[in-house]
């Protein structure tokens, strides 16, 4: 057996670690640990000079293992693994001791405790690294097909980028048409481009691209596999329309007698029929039958659409179908839900007719919308003479969502401009802070100031129809503290628009679980690194783009769609990828064939071989959780890289100073034992 020669490298991370942990002392102490050949401290271990230090020592001192005591392994483990490899040391003979996130940053005013904790973590890592075994990563081929989930502007862009690069794409959309929220808008800020004019060509391209398979009205049910080789089960919901026969002529929906309020595309402000195409530019162009409002499905008779369909495309017996896709990468662009302002009862939405949500108002402004683009009250006729725009409804509020929804300020300015343009009405914005941070946004704000949009700084207290003073009768009264004056004011208006928050989709946590990624506390998908890897996730091969990652506007969503595509293209370009050999492995010679592990495995990766009377792990299916390892009664399953011995050694290591080691640490100023 080879003698252990471990190198320990204690990083200062500038002041981040050295400001709290006595790094020089820790390095000196580490040098005295059994098996340690060299211990150093250095200002920035992750710098190229720091890495070279490790490489040089590996080569000159013949190190058998490396411990880098620095930041979280989630930050720089790959960096130092590459460094080891460059110097000829197996990349899995590296262990990170997380003395920044887990020590210096959480014990900031307690040098002694932070230093002691750093020592124990390093001691654990040193003991562990001695038990590690060289491993070879699995090399897997990257399937060049990609699945994009969500056909809003972010998803469409990701799909087009990939398809234009020559790779197959499956674009999965839950609704009958792609387009997302952007397809509902009339104009986009600050350029006031026609939303449909810029989006429709992209939708068309996505729907007709030879490399894009569009799966509309479909939902992802299950995802298995790993980067390069995902297997995805998609359920395509029954449209009850045979798309092979349908020409999209529209006879069916014109004859359909069932009229219902359109909660989706028209945001509740307009009507549609039971068989419907969400909007004229829908891609694909085929209609769907909504079973819940269809008279035939509810009462058993009608079938007007079938009678009038010239091509016989209506199929009431059509069933959901299941499709299995094999893809190498996944881009999630599932978008957002609008906050329901009924949850803020003091704003009267749902009770006071002329209180509208921002999305309802977008539909109202749309030339193809329920009012043909006319700004009118709920009666459908009367033009308002005064309009209030209420910011931060459900945003920046601990009662609902603490975050800022990012786009509402600009959308409110856009509304102000369009209302003035179309009606000449007075528009008053009620804001806490106006946030116009992107290119040309502040200029747009200045423009609205000059267009005499009113701005009152104060979060609206309530919207009421209870008149109190002359001039208030028949109006909606917006009550607010004008914080710039310091006085309570009541502003009577005809119409109120609530700038409702963007919220994570109501099933975002389920979706995250399906794809094996994380959610923030608010429910938005968590990126791998907020600054440096904003569209990747902790799960290799799964990327995120658009508002599902956090509130953002159209340019940012488009950028993220393209960025996610670029990240996928990098992997496709590599052709193969190394994946972690963190897998279970059964020592078949000692396996008793008890089959306990077979049922425990969540991925059915363990199969029983009746001929040999032993179980075997399929490494392609195993994800390395270790559940079987812990359960094996004969302890013959090895959890590679997290072996029994390595964890037992690490336990001994972190407890080096207890009575098995040199005695407990004594402390004089420790927080939890301090008396009041």
């Amino acid at each position: 057996m080879m003698e252990d020669r471990i190198g320990v490298y204690v990083c200062h991370c500038g002041h981040n670690i050295a400001g709290t942990v006595d790094v020089e002392h820790v390095a000196e102490w580490a040098a005295s640990l059994p098996g340690v050949a060299i211990a150093r401290d250095y200002k920035f271990m992750c710098s190229s000079l720091g890495q070279e230090l490790v490489e040089k020592d590996i080569q000159e001192l013949g190190l058998t293992g490396v411990v880098v005591a620095a930041c979280s392994p989630h930050m720089h483990e790959p960096t130092f693994r590459r460094a080891c490899e460059r110097a000829g040391l197996n990349r899995y003979l590296l262990e990170m001791a997380n003395i920044r996130e887990h020590a210096s940053w959480v014990h900031q005013h307690d040098v002694e405790s932070a230093t002691e904790k750093a020592k124990s973590l390093i001691s654990g890592a040193v003991r562990r690294v001695m038990e590690l075994e060289p491993l070879e990563p699995f090399m897997v081929d990257i399937n060049d097909a990609t699945m994009v989930v969500g056909g809003g502007v972010a998803g469409i862009n990701a799909a087009l980028e990939l398809a234009n690069a020559g790779h197959p794409v499956y674009l999965v959309e839950r609704d009958p048409s792609i387009g997302g929220h952007m397809a509902q808008f009339d104009k986009t800020f600050p350029t006031l481009d026609c939303s449909a004019c810029i989006l429709t060509p992209r939708m068309f391209d996505a729907g007709n691209h030879p490399n894009i398979t569009l799966l509309s009205y479909s939902e992802v049910e299950q995802v298995d596999g790993y980067v390069g080789n995902f297997t995805v089960r998609v359920r395509q919901k029954a449209r009850h329309v045979d798309t092979e026969l349908c020409t999209g002529c529209g006879d069916c929906w014109e004859k359909c007698p069932a009229k219902v309020v359109d909660q989706e595309y028209e945001a509740g402000l307009g009507y549609r029929t039971a068989i419907y195409r969400p909007f004229p530019q829908a891609v694909p162009k085929y209609p769907v039958i909504d079973e819940e409002s269809c008279i035939y499905y509810q009462k058993g008779t009608c079938k007007a659409c079938e009678k009038f369909c010239p091509t016989g495309a209506i199929d009431f017996d059509q069933q959901d179908t299941e499709i299995v896709l094999n893809v190498g990468n996944i881009v999630l662009a599932t978008g957002y839900d609008l906050f329901d302002p009924r949850r803020v009862p003091q704003y009267g939405y749902g009770r006071l007719a002329n209180v509208f949500t921002s999305l309802e108002f977008e539909r109202m402004l749309n030339a193809a919308g329920p009012t043909d683009g006319k700004v009118v009250l709920r009666d459908g006729i009367t033009e308002p003479k005064s309009v209030a725009v209420v910011h931060c409804v459900g945003s920046r509020d601990e009662n609902y969502n603490p975050y800022c929804s990012a786009v509402c300020c600009m959308a409110a300015l856009k509304f102000g401009h369009l209302v003035k343009e179309r009606t000449g009405a007075d528009v008053t914005s009620f804001y806490i802070d106006i946030r116009t941070t992107a290119k040309n946004y502040e200029e747009f704000y200045h423009r609205l100031l000059k267009e005499e949009m009113e701005f009152i700084r104060g979060r609206v207290a309530e919207v009421t129809d209870a008149a109190r003073m002359p001039g208030e009768e028949g109006k909606l009264i917006v009550q607010v503290e004008d914080t710039l004056i310091g006085k309570q004011r009541r502003i009577p208006v005809d119409m109120v628009i609530l700038m409702a928050a963007m919220e994570p989709r109501n099933d975002a946590t389920d979706v995250a679980h399906t794809f094996g990624i994380g959610c923030s506390e608010a429910g938005f998908f968590t990126e791998k690194h907020p600054k440096l890897d904003p569209v990747a996730t902790m799960t290799d091969g799964v990327f995120i783009a658009g508002v599902c990652q956090g509130p953002k506007d159209i340019p940012d969503s488009v950028s993220q769609g393209a960025a996610a595509a670029a990240r996928v293209l990098t992997l496709i370009g590599q052709g193969t990828i190394a994946i972690e050999p963190v897998r279970a492995n059964i020592d078949e010679e000692h396996c008793s064939g008890c089959r306990i592990c077979n049922n425990l495995c969540p991925y059915t990766a363990i199969e029983y071989l009746p001929d040999l009377e032993v179980s075997r792990v399929n490494p392609a299916l195993c994800k390395g959780c270790g559940t079987c390892v812990a359960a094996c009664p004969s302890q013959v399953i090895t959890g590679q890289h997290f072996t029994f011995d390595s964890i037992m050694a690490q336990i001994e290591g972190v407890l080096y100073d207890t009575y098995n080691g040199n005695g407990y640490v004594s402390v004089e100023h420790e927080v939890p034992l301090a008396t009041g």
Binding site: Q346, C392, R396, D397, E398, N399, I432, R457, G458, R459, V460, A461, E462, Q479, V480, E481, D482, T483, G486, K487, Q488, G676
Partner: protein, 189 residues
């Protein structure tokens, strides 16, 4: 507890004297409180402004403000505050601090509270007739004339007892309140 010297002793004292008071650190100055307040128009400074002044450590200006005395305890501000600040309770804190420091200009309001509580300390129950006569005679003698009519009507309808209701175990209540007052002088919450 050790006295810590801080940059903003008044602001810190306000927070420390109110259960959950440290939420005040998150005040956005959005004005939901001032906008929601039923007596907002009568206040010389809205709650939001008082919080800004407290943060600027302007003790005298805060305690001299009439705003806390106009608080009707309707709790609209508290439930609507986007930062979950217990604003109504902070108004009580300002009132207490003003009375303690003898530093307020809304005299009648404070005196009403004190008269009311005086009766409770005597009888264990409130005594509206006594309160109305004593407090209004001393503070609003003119209003008293108008109120007399209402008073007679109330007595007629059996709604105003002319003799106070008294609890049995008054010594117990006195003992509790005496001890409570002693504890209150020890330190703030």
């Amino acid at each position: 507890m050790e006295e810590v010297q801080t940059r903003k002793p008044f602001f810190d004292r306000v927070m420390a004297s109110t259960p959950g008071g440290n939420t005040l650190l998150g005040c956005l100055q959005c004005g939901t409180c001032g906008g929601s307040c039923p007596s907002g128009p009568d206040m010389d400074a809205t709650p939001r402004k008082l919080f800004a002044m407290a943060r600027a450590n302007m003790e005298e200006d805060v305690l001299l403000s009439n705003a806390p005395w106009y608080c009707v305890s309707c709790y609209y501000c508290t439930v609507r505050c986007p930062q979950e600040i217990p604003i109504t309770d902070l108004m009580y804190t300002f009132k207490r601090m003003a009375i303690e420091s003898g530093h307020y200009n809304a005299e009648s309001h404070a005196d009403f509270s004190q008269s009311f509580c005086g009766y409770i300390e005597h009888y264990g129950r409130s005594f509206e007739f006594g309160l109305a006569t004593r407090y209004h005679l001393t503070h609003h003698p003119l209003q008293m004339v108008r109120k007399t009519g209402l008073g007679f009507q109330m007595i007629q309808k059996g709604r105003l007892n002319t003799a106070p209701d008294r609890i049995h175990d008054m010594p117990q209540l006195t003992a509790i309140l005496t001890e409570a007052k002693r504890i209150a002088t020890e330190d703030e919450l």
